[in-house]
């Protein structure tokens, strides 16, 4: 590693290497070392979750959302994945000189509607403007805090053998929506980003079962990366079943055409939960009642064997390893 490559930000193996060899080493924090989507700590007996994320999506407006909506939902979701109730959010803008006020208003409106809907309050912020060309249109960073009920204990290392793996809906929608808008690709069907706040859904799930072991929002790197991280952190094997993984026909068709694997495509309104076997069905029923969980499905389970590795049982009866992504999706040798 002597220069930053695009792959260092892709959420795959290179990102992991960068984080471990540079950030974790220098920052030296036990909380950070856990590599959860949020830092969890207590202040005066109150358990808090704290998270931050930057948004640089291009294009800034896409089917189903915009950079503002994404920045609020993203941080809400990162906090929610710890089981916390997100409460307060900060917003920082880096804007390119010449950016249209009209567009900024559109973005801020969208952020405000999102925050209200999710029941969070934007309480602090910052704005920087950079010379034309110094930044691409607009970048947004949001951070947020939430409170966690004492009895809830969710962590990427808590997946147990026997746990069921649940997802709340279809995969790949966001990534394909953004890609097709950015590149002007026409797939004959409208593919819409799935960006939504998941705090309400998480609440309902925790009401059914406080003992959810792991939750992750499979954003960058798709469900493949999230599942691999969990398999490794919890040191367990994960089996998933292709036939049970929901995917929109439009997204499937687009992925086939583009030659991309939907397991590696980003989502912005999805969560993967690892839950005790006996509670899985109850949680699933409750999830299906939520507007963001209608297509929820049990997609796999945790096993004793093949620790740290995710196996996919394919529709045609084969089994293959779902690996972490290295760089872009390269075709296999043949």
């Amino acid at each position: 590693m002597d220069k930053i490559l695009i792959s260092h930000g892709s959420g795959g193996k290179a990102s992991k290497q960068l984080t471990e060899e540079i950030f974790l080493k220098k920052f030296d924090s036990k909380i950070l070392n856990k590599l959860n989507d949020q830092g969890i700590f207590s202040i005066n007996g109150t358990k808090l979750a704290f998270s931050t994320d930057s948004y640089v999506v291009d294009p800034i407006f896409f089917s189903g959302g915009d950079i503002g909506k994404l920045s609020i939902n993203g941080t809400i979701n990162d906090i929610s994945m710890s089981g916390a109730k997100p409460l307060y959010i900060s917003v920082a803008f880096i804007i390119e000189e010449g950016f249209l006020i009209h567009d900024l208003e559109r973005i801020v409106d969208s952020m405000s509607i999102c925050a209200k809907k999710a029941g969070v309050e934007i309480v602090t912020g910052d704005t920087k403007v950079i010379h034309k060309g110094g930044v691409d249109k607009i970048f947004i960073t949001t951070s947020g805090v939430g409170v966690i009920d004492r009895s809830i204990n969710i962590d990427a290392s808590f997946a147990c053998v026997g746990d069921k793996v649940i997802i709340n809906g279809t995969i790949g929608d966001h990534g394909i929506a953004v890609l097709s808008k950015r590149e002007g690709l026409d797939f004959n069907t409208d593919i819409i980003s799935d960006t939504v706040p998941l705090n309400g859904l998480v609440n309902r799930m925790l009401d059914v079962c406080k003992y959810i072991h792991v939750m992750r929002d499979p954003t960058r790197g798709g469900i493949a990366s999230s599942l691999n991280e969990i398999a490794e952190t919890s040191n367990v094997g994960i089996n998933i079943y292709e036939k049970d993984i929901p995917i929109n026909e439009g997204v499937r068709g687009a992925c086939e055409m583009l030659g991309l694997d939907p397991f590696y495509i980003a989502n912005e309104g999805k969560l993967i939960a690892f839950v005790p076997k006996d509670d899985a069905d109850d949680i699933l029923v409750e999830m299906k009642r939520d507007e963001y969980g209608k297509n929820a499905s049990i997609i796999g389970e945790v096993v004793e064997e093949h620790k740290g590795v995710v196996y996919l049982n394919t529709v045609i009866g084969g089994k293959r390893i779902v690996d972490m992504l290295i760089g872009g999706q390269l075709p296999r040798i043949c």
């Binding site: 084969g318 075709p331 040798i333």
Partner: protein, 765 residues
């Protein structure tokens, strides 16, 4: 006493494949036949023998040694006269064991003529006995789980030998003397016949199998190295059913034929091919189909060649002998990408969607072994897959190698342990992306490491960052404290062919590697590479000009993507105005999307692959747009080619960064011109083949002129194309080159591990 009768004593030291192949019993019998006294033992170097007798007897003994039992193979023979020892008998002495010395595990051997005679002799106690064997034939590798080779470390340990068989085992003049697999109907393994629920069907298992096969059913048979899915090859409905259930649309099936007469009814067979078919290895041989062959057209659709093998186990022979069948489809009993099934219960579980019935037995298979696949080029036999009958016996070459484990490629994987001039190449492992296949890979690596006793100094692997061997190499090198060396895919191809031809260490060659795709050092996917190479290094002298592969791996499954990619490269957006047939077959939306992916570099890696150029041409001229098995487009393009065409397309080349680049678009222009003039597909394909040969020979000329190198090494999967192989070979010869082609090592990715081993061995560290 005449001079000739004078007693002499000699030491004979033999090296090669001489252990575990019934060699000492063989020597013992020879000694007895020739009235010689002395001893034989296994030593670290091979087999050591001392014999004492008359000159005449010793001469006869030398002569008879050359009539070795199969798969034994002597590579070195040292004979020294020694002082008289006055031996009183001939004995097999205890082996001198040496911790550093490897064990050679013999391959499985097809049933010998003597056992065939016993099998069909109503008076023989092994009449119709499906597990008949002797020291010269039968399962070896597939039933071994420990070393040295002895009944207790084989699957036969479960069957207590009966008194009669034990007498044979101890009788030095019996051909079952020291036969570790010796058994008979009263003490050996038994067959059973079950339905998909695992319930036993009463009656003779063999006759039941025949009955259901006659009805057009599919039966999974537990054979030598794993399960085979079997149906009547002359029954369309049965073959179609098998295709549907196995999800195998077009890929040709191999068949087993009753006998050579049947084989020559189906195909043209030369005397060399005849010999290879009937050899103890009994491989599947690709033979040219006769027009009037009576097999189902569904066995090998769109093929000129048919994969044929002869019955190689007593069970196979019984199936034919007791039935009216001339030929049976026999294909590996596995689910796609997974290893061949070898256990009864698991096989029923996994194959019950394909097979209607199962012919089982209670003898365990410890090591899987797929059928070997070969073809003959002139008199030279060439491997497509080196497995049963060959693996795991080592290949011995005139080259000195370090102790290396080379992990091979991801598809058609084989791996290789080497040391000195011995290369232990695994049998066919398969596509490592399959979970069970990768587990099988890891397990087999451990097994070969134990038997070969090679502790690698180096682990060599392919440079592709996303294949499972890369991670494996990482862990292996840490756990075993050895170096790891990444080897470029096409350099490995070329080195594998150099090893195959015993090219010595300091020789420079022109290497032509034509294949599907391999990871290049610039991050692009190479596949039409002209190197100046030795074992240590290579210079990329020429290649194809890069083309984008829209959709990455999807372009491999859909050859039309490469065709559109080239047309877009030629015409830009005017492409949509073109009147080419292909534009009517592929939807406008798809074409548009491909051009966008190319423009915007969305999942469109660059490739210089020869296989992808074949794809583009196959789709452009309307042979095939979508494939269902690897290399299908290239294969079907070869099958329709008119070999008598001598024309070739013009091509342009440019020089960029000191590399000569052949422009594929310039060739395509000529093809479009021929299409516009309604030239036949066969003509165009023939002309396209000639074009590849032309630019290849031109590049070789240019290298020869500049560097004086005359030896040309041909490797890569594209050389399974026999038109290309033959014409390239002939043209190179004609132009005063010295072309080297494969022999013991496959030219496809099954040979990559050998090349990796050789390159890693030669690097100066």
């Amino acid at each position: 006493m005449s001079l000739m009768d004078k007693i002499k004593t000699v030491t004979v030291k033999l090296k090669g494949i001489v252990q575990g192949v019934g060699f000492r019993p063989f020597i013992h019998r020879l000694a007895l036949q020739n009235n010689l006294k002395g001893w034989a033992l296994n030593s670290s170097a091979g087999v050591e023998i001392q014999v004492e007798g008359t000159q005449n007897s010793i001469d006869m003994f030398y002569r008879d040694i050359s009539q070795l039992p199969p798969p034994a193979h002597i590579t070195e023979k040292i004979i020294e006269p020694i002082r008289r020892k006055n031996f009183t008998s001939f004995t097999i002495r205890k082996s001198i064991s040496d911790q550093n010395n490897f064990t050679i595990i013999p391959p499985d051997i097809s049933i010998c003529q003597k056992c065939k005679n016993d099998l069909f002799d109503p008076n023989n106690k092994r009449y119709n006995y499906p597990f008949i064997t002797c020291t010269e034939c039968g399962p070896r590798f597939t039933i071994i789980f420990g070393y040295p080779y002895d009944r207790i470390v084989t699957a036969m340990n479960k069957f207590i030998i009966c008194d009669e068989c034990y007498i044979e085992y101890n009788n030095t003049v019996n051909r079952r003397y020291h036969s570790q697999t010796n058994s008979c109907p009263s003490c050996g393994p038994k067959l059973s016949f079950v339905n998909t629920d695992g319930n036993i069907i009463e009656g003779s298992s063999v006759l039941n199998t025949i009955k259901f096969l006659s009805e057009g059913k599919i039966v999974a048979i537990k054979a030598l190295g794993g399960f085979q899915l079997v149906c009547n090859a002359e029954n369309d409905r049965a073959v179609n059913n098998l295709r549907k259930r196995k999800n195998r649309l077009d890929k040709p099936f191999a068949i087993m034929v009753k006998d050579l007469t049947t084989a020559s009814g189906y195909t043209y067979i030369s005397s060399e091919e005849n010999k290879l078919l009937s050899s103890f290895c009994a491989p599947i041989l690709l033979l040219r189909i006769k027009n009037n062959a009576t097999i189902s057209s569904q066995v090998a659709p769109h093929q000129k060649y048919l994969g044929i093998m002869l019955p190689y186990t007593p069970l196979h022979l019984l199936l034919f002998n007791l039935s009216p069948f001339s030929s049976l489809v026999m294909t590996s009993g596995n689910i796609s990408n997974e290893p061949i099934e070898k256990e009864n219960i698991k096989a029923i579980k996994n194959l019950k969607g394909i097979a209607d019935y199962f012919l089982l037995n209670n003898c365990e298979i410890y090591n899987r072994c797929d059928d070997s696949v070969m073809f003959l080029f002139g008199k030279r036999s060439m491997f497509i897959r080196r497995s049963r009958g060959y693996a795991p016996a080592p290949i011995i070459k005139k080259i000195q190698l370090k102790k290396v484990l080379a992990l091979g490629s991801e598809l058609k994987n084989t791996f290789c342990f080497c040391k000195g001039n011995y290369l232990f190449i695994s049998g066919h492992i398969g596509d490592l992306k399959g979970v069970d296949t990768f587990e099988y890979f890891k397990m087999t690596v451990t097994k070969v490491e134990e038997s070969s006793k090679i502790k690698p100094e180096i682990v060599a692997y392919d440079l592709h960052p996303q294949i499972l061997t890369t991670d494996f190499a990482d862990r292996y090198s840490k756990n075993n404290n050895c170096l790891k060396i990444g080897v470029q895919h096409h350099h490995a191809h070329i080195a594998s062919c150099m090893v195959d031809n015993n090219v010595s260490r300091n020789n420079n060659v022109i290497g032509i590697a034509l294949d599907g795709t391999g990871f290049g050092t610039d991050g692009n996917l190479w596949g039409c590479e002209f190197f100046i190479a030795d074992y240590r290094k290579y210079t990329r002298y020429a290649s194809l000009k890069y083309l984008p592969m829209a959709g990455g791996e999807a372009a491999i499954h859909e050859p039309f993507r490469m065709a559109i990619s080239i047309l877009y490269n030629l015409y830009g957006n005017d492409l949509f105005k073109s009147k080419l047939e292909i534009l009517n077959r592929i939807s406008k939306g798809k074409i548009k999307l491909i051009t966008q992916m190319v423009d915007k570099k969305i999942n469109s890696p660059l490739t210089s692959s020869c296989g992808r150029l074949f794809d583009a041409v196959a789709s452009l001229i309307g042979v095939i747009d979508k494939v269902s098995y690897e290399a299908q487009a290239a294969i079907e393009l070869e099958m329709i080619a008119d070999e008598n065409v001598s024309d070739a397309y013009k091509y342009k080349s440019i020089k960029e960064d000191n590399i000569i680049l052949i422009d594929p678009a310039s060739i395509i222009l000529g093809i479009i011109d021929d299409l516009n003039h309604n030239k036949s597909k066969g003509y165009i394909s023939g002309k396209f083949h000639n074009t590849i040969i032309n630019f290849s020979v031109d590049i070789c000329q240019s290298i020869k002129k500049k560097y004086g190198v005359r030896t040309v090494v041909l490797s890569g999967g594209v050389f399974q194309n026999r038109i290309l192989l033959r014409k390239m070979y002939e043209q190179l010869k004609k132009n005063n080159f010295n072309p080297l082609i494969h022999k013991d090592i496959p030219c496809n990715d099954g040979g990559i591990s050998v090349g990796q081993a050789a390159i890693a061995s030669h690097l100066e560290l």
